[in-house]
Structures are given as structure tokens and as C-alpha cells.
Amino acid sequence: MNRSVAETRERVEKSLKRRRWAELRFKTYGLCAVLLGLSFVVLLFGSLIAQGWSAFRQAYVVIEVHYDPAVLNPEGTATADDLAVADYAALVRTSLKTRFPDVEGRAATKQLAALVSNSAAQTMQKRLAEDPKRMGQRETLRVLASDKVDQLLKGRIDRTVPEADRAVSDQQLAWIDALVKDGSLSLAFNKGFFTQGDSREPEQAGVWGAVVGTLYTLAMTLALSFPIAVAAAIYLEEFARRNRWTDLIEVNINNLAAVPSIVFGLLGLAVFLNIFGMPRSAPLVGGLVLTLLTLPTIIIASRAALKAVPPSIREAALGMGASKVQMVTHHVLPLAMPGILTGTIIGMARALGETAPLLMIGMVAFIVDVPKGLTDPATVLPVQIFLWADSPERAFIERTSAAILVLLLFLVVMNATAVILRNRFERRW
């Protein structure tokens, strides 16, 4: 080299300042990216919890009701069927008017009645059906307040807004304040959210129907996808010779794992509903579609688990004179099981969060009843979230966030199980 060492050193030194700066900049970009990612997590969870937390409490109002025979059974000839459709709402109104005797006129009465959910009348009807002796008696009932009252108590309706733009009128505000003051209107744990099905009225809407639908759908998915996926993985890993055929299967599986989920929905609609005539909105079909969707995930995870079992185990079994099937069922499969189960749980977690393909097969219908079987119309949690997110009522926003929190809780439990399973049982060879 014709350049002197000193000259080289000088040039290197000259470059140093710029390069240190570049280094710092690069490192800062990286740190910023990480922090940005973390802040997204915080923002997402923060906004969900801030919006959804209040849904676990609900406004209840205590009213004194009278099962007035003059309203329910004016002629004294009502059968049980007649009683079921009698005007309980009138009794609720009367009860409220007794509480605020100075309310006059239809409009004011209507405003007053709007403080209480229309489920109050249903509660009365149910209690009378339970015990007909209540006819003519008075009792104190704790019933749901309407969604607007609920939102006001939670501070989501701004009192300072001019009356015309506010969902609650000045008069209603006064009544609400009076009720709160004497302790008959307050927030309490929202049991209905966890025990009821969907409803058009936000204060009556719960996730239980969707949770049950989810359980049926996932049970169906698990029952089909686990055995099939494990069988496929065993075949590909232990029995198949490498040839074009198995290559084709492998490419197919890898590709299916990346096909948009909505395409599986199209398949379900075209094949299960239209060709086989299966019922719409049913967990049965939902389970079938999600099976196809999760199969690739579980197969890939199971193959990895089987591959991790060292060949020496196989040789030992074969050396003892075990057949190939015996080698797999007695040795390889039990050793790979923790990994397979972990993969299965992760696959099921993915299925739990899927929405799009279920929209295609009609699980998007408005369903009030809790499903009782695989062929009953049902919905699932993510779809319930989608439906609620679309509802215009203010109170549905917090219900949606709360439902998301429930869904995330399920996911956390499943993933935690997977992690524990992996740490506990997975062997490193």
C-alpha cells in the first residue's frame, strides 16, 4: 500500500465523528420503533379499559310496585296467557308517578317512564308468573334504569351541554338527582351482562349468549381439527416418503395457513350452506369453517413437535421390533404431545378471534336466545362485538369494550395455558 499508516489513521479519525452520529441516530430509530410499538399496546389497552370498565357496573333503580288487579285483570277472568301479555308497563309508570306525585300530563309521564328500562315490566311479569299470590300485593323491586340514566350516572352524558343537544332533559335530570339523593338510584355490579343474551336495549344486552355460542363453535372446531391435524402431521412426518405428492400437500398446507380467512367463509357459504343445505347461523357450520381455518396452524405446529423428537427414540423402538404404527403411538406421539397441545391451543385462540368467515355463514344475525345445541342459531363473541360496535346507542360503546375485555380474557387464559404447558412439559433434547 502506498499510503502511510499515519495518513490512514488520520482519515479514519476524520470519519469518526460522522459515524458515531450515524450510529446514535440508527440506534435511536430502533429504540423509537420499539417504544412506538409499546405505546400502541398501551394506547389500545388503555382506551379499551377506559371505555369498557364502566360496563361492569350498571344503574339500578329501586321502585315500589303494586300488582294491581284492576290493571292486570280488570274483568277477573284472565288466564295465565292473558296475564303474560298484560300491561305491566302501566304499573311501572304508576309506581314512578307515586314517587313523583307532581308529574302531570302525557309528555311528562312519558319522560318519567323513560328513566326505567322496559325490562322492569318484564321483571314484574316474571315474578307474578312465579307466584300468582303476588296479585294485589305491593313489593319493592330493584330494576334496571334506562341506558341514558346509566350513561349519565357514569358521567358519559355531559350535564353542561344545552338541553336541546342532550339525551337527558332538565326535568329528567332533576328526577334523577332526587332518586340518587334518596338512595334509590345507584350503580351496582352488572350481573345481567354476564347472564343474558343480546338485546336491542343496551342496558339489557349481555354476552352470555355469545359466550355459549363461542363454546359450541370452538368445541366443534376442536373435536374435528385436533384429530385430523394430528393424523395429517403424523402421516407427513412419519410415514410419507418425500415425493411430488407430499410436496404438493406441504405447499398446500403452508399456503392455506396464509389464505385470507374470508375466503374460508366463501367456501363455507358455497359448500356447507348451499350444496349440503346445512342450517345458517349454526355453531355446526361455524365449527366446520373454523376447522378448515385452524387445520394448517395445528398441522404445522404438530409437525414441528414431531420433528423435535430425536431419531434415536424411533430407532430404539424399531430395534425392539415395534411396528411403525406402534413406534409412533407408543413413543413418538406421547413425547411430542406437549408441543402438539401447545400448537392446538394457539390454533384455537386464533379461531376464537375470527370474525370475517363467520359473517359469511350468517352468524351475524341478531339472536336473543342462548343457543342450546349445535344447530341452534347462535353468534360468537367477536361477531357480537362487531354487531354492538355498529349500534348507534352511546351505551353500546362501553358494552362493546367490555365484551372485548371478556374476549381478551379468554385469549389470555388460553395463551397462558399454552405457555405453561410449553414450559412445564416440553423437553429439550
Binding site: 500500500m1 499510503r3 499508516v5 490512514t8 479514519v12 479519525e13 469518526l16
Partner: protein, 281 residues
């Protein structure tokens, strides 16, 4: 270890050797370029090197030999702070390059490595063209003002690495397309393109066939004219062929240092003798 001669030697350009140095033979040289004094290396708390002191001088090849796991590679990697890249590695003692401690807080590791280059056990060309492999160092250090100068550096570096004639028609082929021996010479060209003062070589021929090895050994001998070279090798023949001085390591200790001829003909320490005569290793 009665012959504790080292501390008594006059150190002309070098530093005083710690009194607890147990190495047999003279560890210092007259015009030392790089001097290690009392170097210890710990990996995650476990000690890999104990109290090593040695000088490396200009225009000389120092061979480090010893059984595997003796710490010779570890010591070599200390000399340009490659151990920094290993998590949990800690180095104590001092290593001085031209009067400056390379483990000093103010020492820029980038600058250091531009002065102390390294060639690795397995050839590791970058996934770039042959030209770019050699031009990479000058580029990042800003050694070439323009393309002409860069071409010149690439040309001379490849020529001095003895690779120019083989690759001059395919400078744009990927570096990985070369044979193993050519790749290693490419790595050497890459190193000398930065115009370093010291070149460290970590078993540079262990992945090569005998013919390629011979070429690299010739090259090392030529490079000695311009650089200080320290080479780790597990082959005693190689040490004897290429080096002027030899250091024998054993279990993290520097046992003996001396003129290569003397070490191989007349080892003073029992362990050195056992190794050289093939009793273990």
C-alpha cells in the same frame, strides 16, 4: 519457573511486566507495537485467561500454539476487542497499542479495529461482490476520496493477497462464489485494504486444503514486511514455518515465549516440551 528472567529484561519501548508473570522466556521485544500486560478474561464469571503478558512487534509473525481450549483464540480476540461482541465477557489488565490503552474508555473501538485487523477461522466473505468485499472497509472509514482511488485500493489489496490474477475478470461475482482458499485470501485482502498496523489471524487455514494452506502461509510471510502479525494455529508445523516468535498457551496460562527455532528445538518448560514432542494436545 526459576528462570524469572522477564522482569529483568530491559524494556526499550515496552512497559514493565508485572512481577507475578510466570511465563518462561522473554515476553518483551525491543520495538513493541502492541503490548499486553497482566490480561485476564472472564466469560460469565468463569476465568478463561490468567495474567497474560506479551509483546507483538512490527515486521514479525508471532505464533500462538497450544492444545484446544487453552485460551489462545480468546487472547487473540482481546487484542482488537472482538470479545466486546460476546455478552458476559470481561477483560482486565492492560493492552497498549502504540502507547494507548485499547480498553481505555476514550478508545473508539471502531478506530482500534481499523488499526488491528482480523482474519477468522472460517472464511466469512460478505454476501456482496468480490469488489465490494474489499472496498467495504475503505468505504466505511472514508479512506478513498473517489472511485479511482477506491479501485486502486481494491486492486493493490487483491494483488498483495495474491488473488488479483484469479479474480480480476470477475470482480462483480459474489464473494461466496470463490473456493475456500480464495475466500480466505479475499478476507485477507479485505483486511489489508484498511491498511491496518496489526493483523490477527485465528487459525486461518484450519478450513482449507493443504495447497490452499501453503498459499496462505506464503502470503503471511510476505505480509510480514508491512505488518505485525499474530497467528493462532493448532498446527506446530505451521507455527514453525511462518513465525519468528512462538508463544505456548496452556489452560489459560501463557507458559513460554521465545524465538520459534528455540521453542521447537529447546523448550525450557516441561509443558511446552510435552506438547511439542506430541505427548498431548
Amino acid at each position: 519457573m526459576s528462570s524469572a528472567t522477564a522482569p529483568n529484561e530491559p524494556a526499550v519501548a515496552g512497559l514493565p511486566v508485572p512481577v507475578n508473570c510466570k511465563t518462561v522466556g522473554r515476553v518483551t521485544v525491543d520495538n513493541a507495537l502492541l503490548s499486553a500486560r497482566g490480561v485476564n478474561v472472564f466469560y460469565s464469571g468463569k476465568q478463561a485467561i490468567q495474567e497474560v503478558s506479551i509483546d507483538i512487534s512490527r515486521n514479525e509473525v508471532l505464533a500462538m500454539i497450544g492444545p484446544s481450549g487453552c485460551g489462545k483464540s480468546t487472547f487473540l480476540r482481546c487484542l482488537n476487542r472482538m470479545n466486546d461482541t460476546i455478552e458476559g465477557a470481561r477483560v482486565t489488565g492492560s493492552i497498549v497499542l502504540d502507547g494507548q490503552d485499547i480498553y481505555d474508555k476514550r478508545q473508539d473501538v471502531v478506530q482500534l479495529r481499523a488499526r488491528v485487523g482480523m482474519v477468522f477461522q472460517k472464511p466469512n466473505p460478505f454476501p456482496k461482490s468480490i469488489y465490494e468485499n474489499v472496498a467495504y472497509g475503505p468505504r466505511i472509514h472514508g479512506l478513498a476520496a473517489d472511485r479511482v482511488e477506491l479501485d486502486e485500493i481494491v486492486h493493490t489489496s487483491l494483488q498483495r493477497a495474491g488473488l488479483w490474477d484469479e479474480v480480476k475478470d470477475r470482480l462483480n461475482n459474489p464473494g461466496t462464489s470463490l473456493s475456500g482458499g480464495q475466500q480466505q485470501r479475499l478476507c485477507i485482502a479485505r483486511t489489508i485494504a484498511v491498511n491496518p498496523e496489526v493483523i490477527l489471524m485465528d487459525e486461518p487455514c484450519s478450513a482449507l486444503d493443504p495447497i490452499a494452506t501453503a498459499r496462505i502461509e506464503d502470503l503471511i510471510d510476505e505480509l510480514r514486511a508491512s505488518y505485525a502479525i499474530a497467528i493462532v494455529t493448532h498446527s506446530m508445523q505451521q507455527a514453525a514455518r511462518v513465525s519468528q516468535r512462538t508463544a505456548y498457551f496452556h489452560l489459560g496460562d501463557l507458559i513460554e515465549v521465545g524465538e520459534t527455532d528455540r521453542i521447537f528445538t529447546n523448550p525450557r518448560h516441561k509443558l511446552t516440551e510435552d506438547y511439542i514432542t506430541g505427548r498431548f494436545g
